[in-house]
């Protein structure tokens, strides 16, 4: 059947009145089938399921399970496979669901989806604007494409560079540790206490732990990756002191640690906290809880750092900070090298607080800075709205563990990256209590297909139809 239809099609010199709503832009099966039926030949539904008489086509009765026999009518409304095509001469053509045909709503600017005189033709009016919009967009996407390619190339080098530096710094840390170990042995009593046991029994009853303690200072221990700190004893119930946060922050905060210094500090603290359980046994023995509870009068420096190792410690601190910053950058390029250019990028926008804040009387008109660091954290005014927590699909970024809303969940954010020539924050919305969504335009999100689709769209607007028009 299909073969026959095709052959006949080739024999046609010119197209007769074309069914309204049928897409004639390409010589698709659909086109062929309709042409055949217009000559009185049987029509096969496009899914191949049913063969109909030619008179069944476009007779305002849906015969095909896939709705393919009624491109001009709404008879197959609700079957989504195929739709109605508005030519929209002078503007952009459009595919509609069959459900839009003859439904009392003007969807096509040429009015072809509604009965004659049902809709005024507005294609001439909107056409130029549509064209201008498409062209501007095409320009934008082209630029975005170029930048993206550039970022792909640069990213490759950058990542190599970062990786090398990271390895170097890791080696430095190891070296510094050796220095400190010796240093710590001379003044073990000055080391830092971060954790305490919830049990009243002292930790250091085990002689082996005492031995361990002599090897390295507890400060050094903290600088060590968890895996290097020996066996994990989970049997001991341990809690971390609250004061740890405050002190650990000053411990690691340093202007040299990059644009996201503060955030790095916090992350560092989390690291401490997580390793706390693992190696407190080796760390704690000689230190008293009281050294924390009376901390007001004691400066953090004094508690963290044995004076004799101060310069070593500072170097260690700076190195660690740099290392951390690099790790964070490398996290940004986990998916693709090209994202390197966003590793240090923060976007700011003044916006109204939404919803939750609206409940506070008088706050409705307050404008607050929304600051989004793409692979770091998000702040709205002074409130943390979450930290980067990984990718969500191809062009989505997830931020979680923000500050808790009063009586609500922790704030979180999702970002959708859209293709654009520049990186800019488009919109922020609270979609459910303390869950936000934002859109960001950026070149890295430009895909080749964006350009192809646009070119198609433009072609349809610029180039007039290849086929003769339906005289009706």
């Amino acid at each position: 059947m299909r073969f026959v239809v095709f052959c006949i099609l080739l024999g046609i010199d010119e197209f007769q009145a074309w069914p309204l709503g049928a897409h004639f832009g390409d010589l698709s099966k659909h086109t062929q089938a309709f042409e055949a039926s217009s000559l009185g030949l049987p029509f096969q539904c496009l899914d191949g399921s049913v063969t109909l008489l030619s008179s069944d086509v476009n007779d305002n009765f849906c015969d095909c399970p896939d709705g393919s026999d009624e491109p001009s009518t709404a008879a197959c409304a609700g079957l989504s496979n195929l739709g109605f095509y508005c030519r929209n001469l002078g503007s952009a053509p459009k595919w509609l669901y069959a459900s839009r045909v003859n439904d009392g709503v003007c969807d096509c600017c040429d009015g072809s989806d509604e009965p004659p005189s049902g809709c005024p033709s507005s294609c001439d009016k909107e056409g130029p604007a549509v064209l201008a919009r498409l062209k501007a967009r095409q320009q934008e996407v082209r630029q975005g494409q170029l930048l993206r390619r550039q970022y792909e190339d640069e990213g490759l080098q950058q990542v190599v560079h970062w990786t090398e530096e990271k390895e170097r710094l890791a080696a430095d840390v190891a070296d510094l540790m050796t220095v400190q170990v010796g240093d710590a042995q001379s003044s073990p009593d000055r080391a830092f206490v971060g954790c305490s046991s919830t049990s009243t029994a002292p930790f250091y009853t085990n002689g082996h732990d005492k031995e361990q303690r002599k090897d390295v200072s507890e400060y050094t221990r903290w600088a060590l990756p968890v895996s290097e700190t020996g066996p994990h004893r989970s049997s001991q119930s341990v809690e971390c002191w609250v004061g740890e946060f405050i002190n650990a922050e000053s411990f690691c905060c340093d202007a040299s640690q990059g644009p996201q210094g503060r955030q790095e500090c916090w992350d560092e603290v989390y690291t401490f906290q997580s390793c706390c359980k693992t190696w407190q046994r080796q760390v704690l023995p000689t230190f008293e809880r009281q050294s924390w509870s009376t901390s007001e009068s004691v400066s953090p420096e004094r508690r963290f750092e044995p004076k004799s190792s101060k310069s070593v410690s500072r170097e260690m601190r700076q190195t660690k900070g740099r290392l951390f910053s690099l790790e964070s950058k490398l996290r940004a390029v986990e998916r693709s090298h090209r994202w390197f250019y966003l590793a240090d990028t923060c976007l700011t926008r003044q916006t109204h607080r939404r919803h939750t804040e609206l409940s506070i009387p008088g706050a409705s008109s307050e404008r607050v800075d929304f600051k989004l660091c793409l692979f770091g954290d998000v702040r709205f005014g002074s409130v943390n709205y979450g930290s980067f927590d990984g990718w969500d699909g191809e062009h989505g970024l997830r931020y979680s563990r923000g500050q808790h809303c009063p009586g609500g969940p922790a704030r979180s954010l999702k970002i959708c990256l859209l293709c654009g020539a520049e990186t800019e924050l488009l919109d922020i919305a609270e979609v459910s209590l303390c869950a936000y969504e934002a859109a960001v335009k950026t070149p890295g999100a430009c895909e080749l297909s964006n350009l192809e689709e646009l070119a198609d769209d433009l072609e349809k607007v610029i180039d007039r139809p290849l086929m003769p028009l339906d005289s009706s």
Partner: protein
């Protein structure tokens, strides 16, 4: 039907009576031709029901009892167990002046705690503390109560909405409570009070000779009401069933609907309370709501996402966050700078818009509604109780107030020299006759200070208009005029939430009972369960005036008998739990038996987040059995619009919604049957299959299944597939059933149905013609001129099928005012022997109705 009212002659305070027309139609239904005869100790009334069934009511004089029988069989006996009680208003003894000896003579018949000689507990009669609040009860106790017995073998009782209980009412130890409350996260299978009250019981009576009839009993009282269901048998099954009612105040007003069929019980209920109006067709479509869509852009996005996936829906809703600081009738200008344009854009797609307008009024001098209602004196008042001097108490003439008197025993000493010492004065002594300083008696200030009652609700300090006042309702209604309620258009409709009323800092989160409604100085306790009714009625009447000829739409959370004349209701703040999905079947069924056919539960649950399977199952059930079909969600939940799910889930939801839209002609025709013939749109199985005992007692069938009209049986699936892979569907006695999904024929009886995620069991009754529309568009209005499809499900024995089709303009009152409607019976007969072949016929329709769009 038989109505019995008892009130007090010349009460000390006016006993609150519901104004005529509010619940019982005004004028009330014409009295049947009654033959009345008085015999010794009883009066006999004989009458016939509308369908000609002979009925009889025998009033026994002492002790008072009313027996109602149909066809010679006694169905109900009122006060059968002599629990009639009627506390008459009286002056509190404790507050009488001590020199008054008057004590009311105790009644020997009526139990009256306030004056009972046998020392009943009188605590709380004149003042009652509760949860940090004190109910002043200045008028004292005024409760009333009575029992009613449902006779014969009564396998099940139904009704008593609104309770989150079972379809076949459990005989709990605790009584069912009617006290409209803003309940937070309600429990399932409990007699606790919820948001609304329709105190109606439906009974099924199995009589001798295999005859089964049904009857109804209505308790019309808007004060707090309890009803305890009881059985004689210890196992709680079979035999007669009893209901013991008690209300806090008002008059005793009961109606026995004698039936004897479910259809006639429904007809009698609606004769009494009025028929519901046709809803606009769009109200039966899909409603998309959320607490909250946050901005105009948010609204536009939700709307366009439905279009993107070609999913039909009719109405988008905004909850409280759209307002300026919860001052209703206003807009948050930052998020909704141009609401009129936003709503016009929705209108342009032939869709509708609903805004929430709650009855609590923000106390804010800048808010015109606050100022105006305050200045008109329409706010509910708080009484500042104080005691004053009794003006009738005058100082007795013989009252001795002198504390000192000259000592009478003293005499002038002989040596007293008057010239030198001055006149002799007897020394003062304490006056033995001194009675103390006189103070008039303290009595309650008969005209205490009334100030506007202030409570807390969403806006903070809020005031509550007295909606029982017709003048207040008139004012309220006028606020919906398009030139008053800026930003709205004629496609904007209203949702009244929190109208129990909800008072966050009040006793049980509602208004104190001793608050005063200035309209008639009625205490809130007297009208509490009707507050919500008056709110939504005021809104309905306002919308009627706003757009004359239009069919208003109001959704209310709180309701009372008669709410069906004005509003849709939903079952309040349910939970995303399988148990709530299941309970909604019984809750919807009970509400429709109470006359409220435009009803539904929040699809997917309000609190918490349903997983995809629960969401799909909920939609599959809701599209077939919720007349009011709304998806709603709590502020703290993730979004759950159909398009946010994975594609498979989205397509399943879409298929369900498409099925709903396909079936809209059936729904609409059923609503015509409701509005014109009192037939509930959705109803428990017994309503159509009273002669099938399984529909009275098969628990699985009663709790999982329900009928849409007389043609479609639906079985809800309320467990995840991990726990349930098949369902036993009970198909009642009929000529057969056809699967809605694949047309497979099934004989009546129990069938095991293998489950998949694409559908839930649902069967058309053989012998029915179902009107459908096969073109599914983006809203019901877009489908209004599309052709109909009639699906014919033949009775295999007779080859015949019957159905109905109702058409009007879907949105105005012309169907009522000028009879512009088309209501057709469809009779399909087939003379030839039937095969199993499917026949597609083509037909063209001339539209007889012009769309007035």
């Amino acid at each position: 039907m038989v109505r019995m009212r008892i009130t007090e002659i010349k009460p000390l305070h006016i006993r609150h009576e519901i104004p005529p027309g509010d619940v019982v139609s005004d004028p009330p239904p014409a009295a049947a031709k009654v033959s009345e005869a008085d015999e010794s100790g009883k009066s006999i009334f004989k009458f016939a029901t509308a369908d000609g069934t002979a009925a009889e009511a025998i009033l026994h004089h002492s002790p008072l009892a009313l027996e109602v029988s149909v066809g010679g069989q006694i169905l109900q006996r009122l006060n059968a167990r002599n629990m009639l009680n009627f506390e008459r208003y009286r002056t509190p003894k404790e507050r009488l002046p001590p020199d008054t000896a008057s004590v009311a003579a105790p009644d020997t018949v009526l139990l009256d705690a306030a004056a009972h000689p046998n020392g009943l507990d009188t605590n709380g009669l004149w003042e009652e503390p509760f949860g940090g609040h004190t109910d002043q009860k200045p008028r004292g106790p005024a409760s009333l109560g009575m029992d009613v017995s449902f006779l014969g073998d009564v396998p099940s009782l139904f009704g008593l909405p609104e309770h989150a209980t079972k379809a076949s009412l459990p005989f709990y130890q605790e009584p069912y409570r009617f006290f409209n409350l803003d309940v937070f996260e309600y429990e399932i299978d409990e007699p606790m009070a919820l948001y609304g009250a329709i105190p109606i019981i439906w009974a099924i009576h199995r009589l001798g000779g295999g005859q089964t009839v049904s009857s109804g009993f209505l308790w019309i009282n808007p004060s707090e009401t309890f009803v305890k269901l009881e059985r004689d048998t210890p196992d709680g099954k079979g035999g007669p069933a009893h209901a013991w009612w008690t209300s806090e105040s008002g008059v005793l007003d009961t109606v026995v609907m004698v039936g004897p069929t479910p259809k006639t019980v429904s007809a009698q209920f609606h004769d009494l309370t009025g028929h519901g109006p046709m809803p606009g067709l769009w109200a039966l479509g899909k409603h998309q709501c959320r607490w909250n869509y946050m901005s105009e852009k948010d609204v536009a996005t939700v709307d366009s996402m439905y279009d993107k996936y070609d999913i039909p829906y009719d109405t988008i809703w905004l909850d409280i966050e759209h307002t300026d600081g919860k001052a209703y009738f206003s807009w948050n200008a930052a998020a909704f700078p141009n609401p009129k344009q936003m709503i016009d854009n929705i209108s342009a797609k032939r869709r509708k818009f609903v805004n929430v307008v709650d009855p609590h009024i923000k106390k804010d001098e800048k808010f015109h509604v606050y100022r105006e209602v305050r200045d008109k004196g329409f706010f509910v008042k708080k009484v500042s109780y104080k005691q004053i001097d009794d003006p009738t108490d005058v100082k007795p003439a013989d009252w001795v107030e002198e504390t000192k008197i000259p000592d009478p025993t003293a005499t002038q000493p002989p040596e007293w020299n008057t010239e030198e010492d001055g006149p002799w004065v007897a020394p003062q002594i304490d006056n033995p006759a001194y009675k103390g300083a006189w103070h008039p008696r303290k009595v309650n200030d008969p005209t205490p200070d009334l100030t506007d009652f202030e409570g807390w609700c969403w806006p903070g300090t809020s005031l509550y208009p007295d909606f029982t006042d017709p003048a207040m309702r008139e004012y309220w209604g006028s606020q919906f005029a398009l030139d008053k309620y800026t930003g709205t258009n004629a496609d904007t409709y209203i949702w009244n939430d929190m109208n129990e009323p909800s008072v966050f800092n009040g006793p049980e989160v509602t208004m104190p009972r001793d608050a005063i409604h200035p309209n008639g100085m009625v205490e809130h306790r007297d009208v509490h369960n009707m507050y919500g009714y008056y709110v939504h009625r005021a809104t309905f009447e306002g919308l009627q005036k706003r757009t004359p000829g239009d069919r208003p739409f109001v959704l209310t959370r709180s309701f009372f008998i008669g709410s069906h004349k004005y509003s849709a209701i939903w079952t309040g703040d349910n939970y995303a739990q399988w148990s709530h999905l299941k309970a909604s079947i019984a809750m919807v069924g009970a509400l429709t038996l109470g006359g409220q056919s435009l009803v539904g539960a929040d699809v997917g649950g309000f609190f918490k987040h349903p997983d995809t399977e629960m969401t799909v199952r909920w939609y599959q059930l809701a599209v077939l059995i919720y007349p009011f079909l709304r998806n709603h969600a709590h502020l703290e939940t993730p979004r759950r619009e159909p398009y946010v799910f994975d594609e498979k889930t989205m397509l399943r939801i879409k298929a369900s919604l498409q099925m709903r839209y396909k079936m809209l002609p059936l729904w609409y025709t059923l609503f015509h049957r409701w509005a014109s013939a009192a037939e509930p749109v959705v109803r428990p199985l017994f309503w159509d299959f009273l002669d099938d005992p399984q529909t009275h007692e098969n628990e699985e069938a009663l709790e999982s299944q329900i009928m849409l009209g007389d043609s479609l049986l639906v079985h809800g699936i309320a467990k995840p597939s991990s726990e349930q892979s098949e369902a036993t569907v009970y198909l009642p006695k009929a000529s057969g059933w056809y699967s809605i999904h694949n047309g497979a024929f099934k004989a009546p009886g129990a069938h095991v149905h293998k489950l998949d995620l694409d559908s839930i069991p649902a069967y058309y009754r053989a012998g029915t013609v179902v009107p459908l529309k096969s073109r599914i568009r983006r809203s019901s209005a877009c489908m209004s001129l599309d052709p109909f499809t009639l699906n014919v499900y033949l009775n295999p024995q007779t080859g015949a099928a019957k159905g109905r089709l109702y058409i009007d303009d879907y949105r105005t009152r012309t169907y009522q005012d000028v009879g512009l409607l088309c209501a057709r019976k469809i009779d399909f007969t087939c003379s030839a022997r039937l095969g199993t072949r499917t026949h597609h016929a083509k037909a063209s329709f001339e539209e007889t109705l012009k769309s007035s769009h």
